[in-house]
Structures are given as structure tokens and as C-alpha cells.
Amino acid sequence: MSSQPKPGASPTLKDCLAGGGKMGALMRSMDWSKTPIGPVETWSLALRMVVQLLLVNRFQLFLWWGPQFCQIYNDASWLILGEKHPNSMGQPASECWAEIWHIIGPLIRTPYQGGDSTWMDDILLEKNRSGFMQETHFTIAYSPVPDASVPGGIGGVLGTVHEITEKVVAERRVMVLRDLRARSTEAKTVEEACAIAGETLCQHAKDIPFALLYLVDADRKRARLAGHAGVDRAKAESPLLMELAPECRDQQIWPLPETLHDAFHVVEDLPRRLATVPPGPWSDPPQTAVALPIRSDLANHHPAGVLVLGISSRLRLDDRYKDFCELVSSQVATAIANARAYEERKKRAETLAEIDLLQDITPGKGAEEQPVMARNELEQRVSERTAQLLKSNEQLRREIAEREKVQAEAIALKEELAAELSAEEASRESEERFRRYFDLGLVGMAITSPTKACLEVNDELCRILGYEREELLHMIWAEMTYPDDLAADVASFNRVLAEEIDGYSMDKRWLRKDGRIIDTIMAAKCVRRSNGSVNYFVGLVQDITERKRAEEEQRKLAALVENSPDFIGLASLDGEVYIVNPAGRALVGLNDAAQATETRVLDYMAEEDRATFQQQIWPHVLREGAWEGETRFRHFKSGAIIPAREHIFLIKEPRTERPVAMAMIVRDITERKRAEEALRTAQEQLAHIARVTTMGELAASIAHEVSQPLTAVVTNGDAGLRWLSQSPPNVEEAQKAMTEMVRQGHRASEVIARIRTLLRKSKSNISTVNINELIGEVLALTRQKAEEHGVIVRVDVARDTPLISGDSVQLQQVLTNLILNALEATNAKKNGAREVLVTSQCQGTNEVVIAVHDAGTGIDPQHMDQLFRPFFTTKETGLGMGLAISRSIVEAHGGRLWATPKPERGTTFQFSLPIRGVF
């Protein structure tokens, strides 16, 4: 039952819509005469061919056919269409794509009118998908489809579509985060950090149509607007101050208290909530916003504020969008934290100044003028406060002293370094270059002391290790080293200290602050003083986690190819084979990988298919990028033919899309073919057995069918003899009798031929079948049976039922079965109408329904669902195969067979057959 056409064979009417998954099924079910390209039987060869190729292709392909660009597409494409599908099948492209027709119309028309193929890299289309206008990005290539049967020589335009929405949006979001990060250290105050964040977000309206940044006051009672993007300050939707008290919740337009309390909040239906919604970059304003806490102050668990972000009206708020919003929020948090750290340092310095001032106040100064009570109280308060301040003063002094020490150390180091450098005639330029590398952050860099302390680290190293700069500056590298790698590192380090070597490099794992282990390549180089002792180390750390993962993936992919049970091969575009995996080599009898590299693609094809491959398949692959279908392979040793299903595609360079190689995935379908053949044989045998059984039931009927014409022959012969033996002989009457003899003789042989056909074990034989004639023939065979049962068979057939294509013998078998069942059901009943009605009827233009109604005993409802199961029978002598086989025959014809109880009494069995159905 394979409807897979051989490559190169021109698709016939029947098989051009065969296969093709859901779209194939949809196309088969459609009445194409209602579309501009007309019914399938009028399609040109070129159209049929391209439709067939399109349906089985896994790439997203559209075909726009004829001057109205009637649209056809495959399974891969329907997601692009969203809710336009299924109306979009067969629809003129200008109707289907009305909203973007001004863009794609000219692109389709150009190749159609004989111009060059058109191409568009990243076109932005606003498309109605899943119920709203979405921002989508595509790469589309439009190429003409030649059709010799139309005047212009071009029948339509094939569109190869590649949707890149996700990629474009993801890249854009990375830009947003990068910009935020780049400016995260500029601010001197928290307010400034918020303002900068707002300015940055202004640049990225496509993902953040508007943003509001509220900072919570120290008393946590109010929030102030500190940053904004895409919306002005102090509008109804951007109040400068918002109360956070729970009782004010209902009056607030943004859910700040809730967000501060339990994180991420989605605010829907903005146009209803707000008098004016910030417009955003698209024609309609955002419908949704999200509110997120800004967690910059992890120490006390209170978010620093709330970030309200508008959600693009052209994008779905999916998990990725939400994650992106979280990342934006955390970038803002980082910027605020940086600014706050700066402010705190400044405040400490001011506090110190205040303490110094307080220490100047000497107790008793002017005390004589004060009342004693007040003076005592004041004295006590002053002494308490002084003690407090002195305590923190001392602590701060200690910290500052430490820091100054470290800074002094660093400055000293730098000075020494400068001195050394100048002493070694290194130019200032090279120091700057070093600095640039350091700041550029291509790799993680650190300057460490001989005591393993980190003296200076760059941003990239902070990122790699997951620590803040301040934290790193208080750590030694040994404590971050993954324990297993520490010994090797320290050993090399000690060799440097011992002046055996000046530097070393190693694969080294680190323990990040968050506990993750990270793979790096680490290189350390020492700078010595003039006396040879190590002054400091310069350490380079490169994060190779990604590379490791890529290598791992590569290894998995290679294993996949190696272990695949399918033939997988790679070849150059010239046909030189690079590799064939073990399963592939086993399939075609190649000894080893080396032998495979000496072969060419064509060597794998059976002789008979080589021309097809060269002239049709390969050009198709080059043109369309891929081909899928069945050909025959050849065993290298035995020369045996191997039926194969192939998927061939071009491997392209990611950036330029230039093809660089071809890949071929091949599955041996010998077993499948054999199984299909066995199944077909078994089904045919079973159907034959069922027919013989049915014929047994019909024996009396058949005897009658034969004896009627025989009686007529004999009797007419006798009559003829008598007319001739009269004197004078009555020749005229004798001739009449003999003419009738001949006629009846033919009738008898027709009956016999019909019986023989039914008994023959024949392969299915498809031809055009006239349903009403078929009913007539079956009634002739079953008439006698009906008379035996005393049942009248009435016929009510639709006039002009269209021809269907099918196997008339099999269909006769089905109808015979149904009629015999109906006769028996009627016979089982003692009284009432003894009548069976056979009808035929067209259902729309798609199918014809043949029904057999009996007024019999009806079917026990509990048997209803088992009726069509094999070996189910209620008859004492039944085999229980009749209905099961009938159903499989009808289904093989693309129809259905079912039973329904009649409301008054009895049962209706009916089957539908598709008109001009594909078999």
C-alpha cells in the first residue's frame, strides 16, 4: 500500500496529494474547484509535481500558484500561519496575508513575472498569530516554479521560509542586558544609577516599551520614582510618590506593596487600568506590564525598590520574556548596589569627620550655666553617644587602616612595577596596553601577591568566579581553587618562588561563590624584583565551560552518528564520501571507514537509480536544500538491491548559508517492504476465504442464477426444433427462438464469470466503478436468497451517482455481505414488514453512501461496538469475519463502514466511498 512514488516518476492525479501528513490529508479533503486553481484533476503536471515535493518536505515551504497566488503549504509551515490555518489552504495569498501584502506581494510578484528570485534577510512582519499581532522575523527566499503549460512559462512561486523570530529577539535582549551592565558602575548615587538605568532602557523600546523604577524610602512607607523610560515623569501612570501602606493598595495603579512582598507580578489589561497607556514602539500600546522587586540589598532581604516594565504588544509574555525581565531587574539591582556601596564609603568618611568633631567637645564647657539636671542628662547622653561613636570609630579606623595598608601595598607594588618597568625599559605604552587588556575583560586577569592574595582583579574574573570585586580582594586564590587541583597549582607556584620557573599554565577548576565548579585554563607569570624574588604574579584565567560543553556535545553527536542504526554519511558537494557510520558500512558491505573514503556517492546507488539521482534528485537537493524519498541502494560485495528511504540535505555554513557538504540519512526499508507485502498477501487471502464462505451461503442463489438462463436455452431450443419440424417449417419463429438461446447462453456465462471472479484469489484491481451497477449485480446474486426468506428487496438509488475508483470485486463482497446479513436479520423475525431497502446517495460532492436498511430484530446494543471485530458472530454457523473484512476493504478505499440502529426497528449498515478517491 505504499503510495510513495519513485523519484522521477511524474506524479499522477492520485498520488500527487498522497502522504504529506496533516496538510496532505487536508488537501485531499478539500474541494479545489472552489479555489482559483480549480479541481485537482485539472492541475498541470508541474503543479502536481511541486505539490507532491512540497508536501513531503520537512522545510517550511509555501507555494503560491497562478495569477492569484493560490496558497499551498506543508506540515512544517502551518505553525507560521497560526490561526489563519486551515482557511489559508488554497486561499489567494493577498487575502491570507492582507496585513503584510504590501511587503511580500512585490517579492512574490517579481519572480512570477519572470524577474530574478527574490530574497529577504530578516524581514520583520507583524502577523496575526494566536489571536494577536505578533512581531515575527523571517528569512524568505522566493523562487519561480516553471510550468510549460502556462503562457508565461512560470506557474507559481515557491517560498522557502525560515523563521528567525526567536533568534532576533534573543540577540536583542542580550544587547539590553549588555548595555545595562556596561553602565552599571558609572553612578555616584543610587538616584543616578536609577536615572542611568532608565536612560539605557529608553534605547530598547521593542522589548521594554516603558519602564518605571521606584525606590523604597528608608522607612519603607513610600516609594519614589527614580528612573523612567518610554513615559514622562509625574503622569497619572508615573506618579512621583506612591504610598506603600496596605490600606492604600486599592488606590495605587501599580502593585508595589504586593511586589515588594511576594515578587513577580503581572499587570494585565493596561488600557482599562490606565487613562493613557505609554504608547511603545508599535501601533498599539502594551496590554501588559510586569512589576518586579529590585533585590540589591540581599543583606536585609528587603528589595530596594520595584521595577515596572511594559511588555511589548507584539510579543507573548512567555517564560523567556519573564526571565529576561528578571535579568533586567537584577542588572538594575547591581547598578544600585554599586552606587550604594560608593555612597556608603562616602558616608563613612563623613561619619569619621563627625566623630572627630565630637571629640573636640570637652565635658563641663559652659556647664555652670546649665541646670544640674539638664547638665547631668546631657552629660550622660553625650558620654553614651561618644562611647558609641568611639567604638565604631575604632572599628572604622581599623578597617580603613587595613584598607590603606592594602592600598598602600598596591600602590607600592604599582610604583615598584613602574620603576621596574622603566628600569627594564618597558615603555609606558606597554603598561597602558596591559591596562587595556585588563579592563577589556577578554579573559579573567588578576595580579596576586607571593602570599597568594588578590591585589587586583578585573570584571571578567569576578564574573568567572562569581564574587564581588571587594570580596576577591580579601581572599587568597587557594581558597577558591577546587581542592583536587590545588596541589598541582601550589607545586608549580612554589617552583616559581624557588626561582626554578617564571610561570606555568594548567587546566584548573575553581569553586565559585555559588558552589558551582568551573573549568578554566589558567596561566600565571611572575614579575621578579632585581634581587630575583617574586614581586607579584599576573594570572590569566579563561573560562572554558562553554568550550567543554561544546566538546561534550560534539562527542555526544559523534556517538549518536556512530551508534545510529541508520546509515548516516557525509560527502563533499562533488560526491566524494568523507564518512559513513558503522551501521551504514554494515548495510552496504564496506569493510571500514577508510574504504568508505574511497567511494563516491553514486557508487551507493543501484545502477537503475543512478540516472535519476544525477538528473533529478541531486539537482533538487542543490536547489531546495533537501530531498526525501525512496531509491534503491546497492550492496558493495553482493551487489544486492537494498530498498532505502533517504533524506539528503545540504550542510551550510551558518553565517553565509553557503553549502559546504551534503549529508545523507538512509534507512533500510527491506523489512518494511517485506512486511507490507506479507500483510497485503494475508489480507487478500483472508478476503478470499471470506468470499468463498459467502459464496457457500449463496449456493442456492447461484444455482438458481445459472438454472434460469439454462432453462431458457433448453426451452427455446425445443421450441425452435418444433417450429422447424412443422410443414412448412416456420423459420421466422425458429430464428427468434435461437436468437433468444444465444442471448440466454451469454447470460449464463456472465453469471459463471461473475462467480469465478468472486472466487478467484485476485490482487486488488482498481478501476472505475458505477455504484448503481454494482448494486444491481449484487442484487442479482442475492435475489434467490431473498425469495427463499420471503423478503422483498427494494432499491432506491440516487440518479447519476458519480463514478468512484475501487476494486469492484471487493466492493461487491462488502455489499453482498451486508445484504445477506440483512436478509437473515429479517428472516429471524416472525411478523412485520419483510423488506430490505438498499439505497445509494451522494453526500455533498465528496462521497457516496451505500446503505442497507433492514426491519429485522435489530442488534443488541452491547454487541454494537464488537460488530466489526474479527471472529465476532451471533450466527450459529458464522465465521465472524464478514464485517471485519468488509470494514477493512471499505477503509482501504478511503471510506467508512458503520452501523446504526433504526429508530422504529431493525438496523442500517452503511458505507461511504470517496468520489474519485485516492486508493
Binding site: 432453462t711 433448453v714 426451452t715 447470460r747 435475489r783 425469495e787
Partner: protein, 205 residues
Amino acid sequence: MAEQGPVVYIVDDDSAVRNAMENLIRSVGLRVRTFVSADEFLSAGLPSVPGCLILDVRMPGRSGIDLQSELLKVGNPIPIIFISGHGDVPMAVRVMKAGAVEFLIKPFRDQELLDAIQQALGRDRVRRNEDAQVTQLRGRYSSLTPREREVMRFVVTGLLNKQIGAELGTSETTIKLQRGQMMHKMQAESVPELVRMAAKLGVPA
């Protein structure tokens, strides 16, 4: 004679068989009328000439056997020849008991059918003659006076004139006169002939 000649009626739903039989029967110079169903036969007006019916056993609607019982019910004594596609002994017995002339299995020999037809027509002819005779006798009997009928009854029972006179309380001479009158009206040549007439008329002895 042609209009008055016997007619063979054929009821068979299969036109080929029907036509073939018609052809055969016409070839021996008999008139034929054909019907496609029992109902068509029942509703047709038939001439009162000798005839017989060739009837297919199995037909859609009313079967041949149904038609036979229907004819018996309405008192139509037309002789019937059954033909059937297959031999079914119980069925054959049933129809023969109900008075059928013959039961033939298709395909049959022409002579068998023609013989059966001749037999059936002969039977019909005899029946028709007897029917005519009885009608005639009834006419004669109805012309008798009540006394002559009484005399006839006694004559048929075998009483002598004297005994009849005693029975009826009259003289032998009177009886002799009345007896002569009765014999003349009945056109009976002899007492045995009168006895046969009485039997046909069903006059009680």
C-alpha cells in the same frame, strides 16, 4: 374455433424463461397468455375456455404456492403445472396434494411440459363438460312438479310403481302416468341412467 380454443397461462417473473415457454407452447399451436406476477394473474379477466396455468414456485411478492391456495379459496379449479428451480420433495408433495397436475424441475424436457399441458387441458375440458351436464340436468330437474320429484326419488331408490302408489296413497296407474312424465322431462332412457343423473344432482335417495 381459434377464439374458443384452450389457453395456457404462464406466471413467471423471469422474462427469459417466460418467453421461452411461451415460444415452445405456441409452436404446438396453443394460445398463451403470460403474467409477471401472481397478482397480475389474479386481476386479469379470463375467458371461459379450457385452460391451464404454468406457475413458477418462487417469485418476489406472492409465491406460486400462495397463488394456488388463493385460487382454491375463490373456487377457481384451473389445473396448475408447477415449475421450480430446484427439487424440493416436501414442496412437491404439498402442491400435488392440493391438486396440481405436475411439478417440473428446471430445466425440463419439452415433451414433459407439453404432456403435462395436454393432461391439464384434458382435465379442464372434462371438468367443463361435467359442469355443463350438471347445469343441463338442473334445468330439467327444476321443470319437475313436486309430485314428480317425489316419484323420482322413489324410482331412484328402486321402488316399484305399486309400492310408490302405496307410499304416496294413490293408485298404481296414476304413478305410472306421473313416472312417464318425469322420465320424459328428465330425458332419461332408463332407470339406471336416472340413477346416475340423480347422483350428479345430489338428489337424496
